[in-house]
Symmetry: C2
Subunit: 447 residues, 2 copies
């Protein structure tokens, strides 16, 4: 780049890390290109609400262009990065365009992984995108329809058997809400089945649910799940999943509806970098979140593997936001150092050395997970809450952090309505007619 | 049927006609099976708002089971009717089940038709279902994205050329709203294009838009469309549509986004009856809405062809509701007559003859169409309104008739927000990532 040209920052991914980095560079003398495969930023912590028909897809998403319309140094591009060339400092998009960068931030997040069992994917969809959420919603709602028209008690039972694999926050949220739907939301609506007879099972291969929480809160969460009617199975892995059911330990269980909330793998974009990666595919970055040997390339959010005090920084929204903001800070420091050094006619490499002294430090404000109606657990420092109070805490935090005034209001009204009526606003089966759906149900995970 | 058995009424289709007939039979001594391919009743008059990203799909739809949960004589079945046997009085579902009926109401509505040009369908999607609406929304929003990343002025122009074919209420609503999106909603969000340069053309083969309204209101509607920036072309048919554009009269226009709002054809279920049909496939019913020769089979809503005072009853929601209620009234009368005649030991055929004297009469309360922001036309008897007052009238009527308290409130808030902010709530592109989308864009009309 010529010294006079405005430095070009390319940011890949409009999630929490990418969007927060973009905003933190709003007053920097750079031009930014933000690239995402989708046109929207997604408030992922509420994705399970879309999957369980409580919220509409647009309630938890906002167009990136709209969020950033006032930030004049940003250009938003909807597209997919297919190659990164660190030598020429350029990224290539699928449509053929090549973008040169001065700084690159890779923040393309994570996807779900089946631990080498990709053949399970069609039978146990995971939850990472809005399309995933709508596919799961369709399956859950269709299962009750199929049960209602089932011709044998055996078929009916298989359609009313639900399993959620993975006892982390997403699995707990899905299982708790699903039990609420079966017990309350669908009451009185069927004539041949009683939806309350649905069995909702939460399966965790490890010893306890919510393993990232203290043991006492895991126990509280389990008690609250019991209360909601969820059968929790811990310490037993799922060994197979197919169209007819799943194998838990050694025994086969007939069940047509299995949801996957167990494995997470880093976005495949990490592999485009020539950098060390951990087992989940996350890029092992330097203390300042740059890639070893490439001080101009950064990785942030779920794609970054960061160790702090001997523990990994968790893949949660606050960590992603903090990493995004940190990368912006490092870039601004580099530009300042570069300008000073240029004035002093010293070497650029010394500027890099200076900025390298800005290590990222994750500030852990706490951890919270909702379980179902009036049930949640909260862990903030020494504060441990569970039950109703934790649920209100969770609600306020999530409404507060949801992007955009309108979304907050709509979500709040939906929840108030859901609370008083036990109803769920988005119980609409989309994507093909009833029978086409039935044919596809076990063949394809997505529309 | 044995005289003691409760008569079974099978209703096919949960639209306005089928749902209103079902409700009107709530206190009748019958058991009802309501069959629909989808799980929801759809408020079709607002479907264009979902297509143009103003509302979410669940805002204008409610599960049939939920609407009817309190009506104990109804069983809702999600399924598709594939055969009707009037001799054995039975309908067959795609999943193999056969249902015997004593009375049958066919109310499966209409679909869009391409006047024998089914090859146009992938390039000019129509608007009848929520899936259609989401497919159109995706196309409209993606067109601006494609324009932003287009490499030549020629490509850019083709992505910014929009055409709506058909100048009826749906076409007018779509074109007006699309112009508003281009001029206001997307302002400031793009860096390489100015969305306001988008050309929105409304094409009507006949001499004027809104042909079902008086000429003076057609003229007012046209003036309001001009004001909104829509180019209205009348008296010229579209002769071809492909992936590159469309042929208007003799000239080819490059345009990647064409929406079809021109042709309507009756649901193919009408062909399963041995009954006379009109050119659009609608069943020509008797005065009481029964099928000639089959007093126990009725057709209502958009699938019925009814003449009144030498004019066809229009395919609008109020007509469908009135027909549904009328069929329920005829069925109740038949049951009463049948019971009386059974007591008097007279022939059942005379009972039918009595009930046949209940002819359907459409009560036309008026006609209204919205055009865009603060623009509408209203025709109620001698009352003719246009502009702001008509728009408020339209808004109140539509909110009032929308099913379900919650939906009304959410829709009202969305509109209030849209009005003050010029924003649209549901600008989320769903269904695959950017490039997969691009590949499919001209190949498949649905996800």
């Amino acid at each position: 780049m010529s010294e006079k040209a405005i430095p070009h920052v390319v940011i890949v991914g409009g999630g929490f890390a990418g969007l927060w980095a973009t905003r933190a560079l709003s007053s920097a003398d750079v031009r930014i290109t933000l690239i995402d495969r989708r046109n929207h930023h997604l408030f992922q912590p509420l994705l399970y609400q879309v999957a369980t028909a409580g919220l509409s897809a647009p309630d938890i998403a906002a167009p990136l262009r709209h969020i950033l319309r006032g930030q004049r140094n940003v250009e938003v591009r909807m597209g997919e990065v297919v190659a990164i060339d660190a030598a020429t400092k350029s990224v290539a998009l699928r449509d053929g365009e090549v973008l040169r960068y001065d700084f690159l931030l890779l923040a393309s997040g994570a996807t779900h992984a089946y631990f080498g069992h990709d053949d399970w994917a069609p039978h146990a969809p995971g939850l990472k995108t809005l399309d995933d959420a709508l596919a799961i919603r369709r399956r859950l709602l269709l299962a009750f329809e199929r049960a209602e028209s089932a011709e044998s008690a055996r078929d009916r039972a298989a359609w009313l058997n639900f399993a959620v694999v993975g006892g982390g926050p997403t699995g707990v949220e899905l299982a708790g809400t699903l039990a609420e739907i079966a017990r309350h939301t669908l009451r009185d609506e069927f004539r041949r089945i009683d939806p309350a007879e649905a069995k909702v099972r939460l399966i965790e291969a490890g010893p306890r649910v919510l393993p990232s929480f203290p043991e006492s809160l895991s126990a509280k969460a389990r008690a609250q799940l019991d209360e909601l009617g969820v059968e929790v199975v811990t310490g037993t892995p799922v060994n197979a999943i197919d169209a007819e059911g799943y194998t838990l330990g050694d025994s086969f269980v007939r069940a047509h509806t299995v949801v996957w909330a167990a494995g997470v793998a880093a976005s495949p974009l990490g592999a485009l970098l020539d950098a060390p990666r951990d087992r989940a595919g996350r890029v092992q970055v330097e203390a300042d979140l740059s890639v070893p040997g490439h001080p101009e390339i950064f990785v942030a959010g779920d794609l970054a593997s960061v160790q702090q005090d001997g523990k990994p920084v968790p893949g949660v929204a606050p960590a992603a936001k903090q990493m995004g903001v940190h990368v912006a800070k490092v870039i601004r420091a580099r530009l300042r150092d570069g300008a000073r050094n240029a004035n002093e006619a010293s070497a650029a490499s010394s500027a890099e050395a200076t900025s390298r002294t800005l290590p990222f430090r994750y500030r852990d404000f706490g951890n919270l997970a909702t379980i179902g109606r009036m049930a949640a657990v909260v862990h903030f420092g020494k504060l441990k809450l569970s039950g109703v109070l934790a649920w209100w805490f969770w609600l306020v935090i999530h409404i507060f952090f949801l992007i955009g005034f309108r979304n907050r209001l709509i979500v709040l009204i939906n929840w108030a309505w859901a609370y008083w009526s036990y109803q769920r606003a988005a119980r609409i089966i989309l994507g093909g007619d009833a029978d086409a759906e039935s044919d596809q149900l076990h063949g394809a995970p997505k529309p």
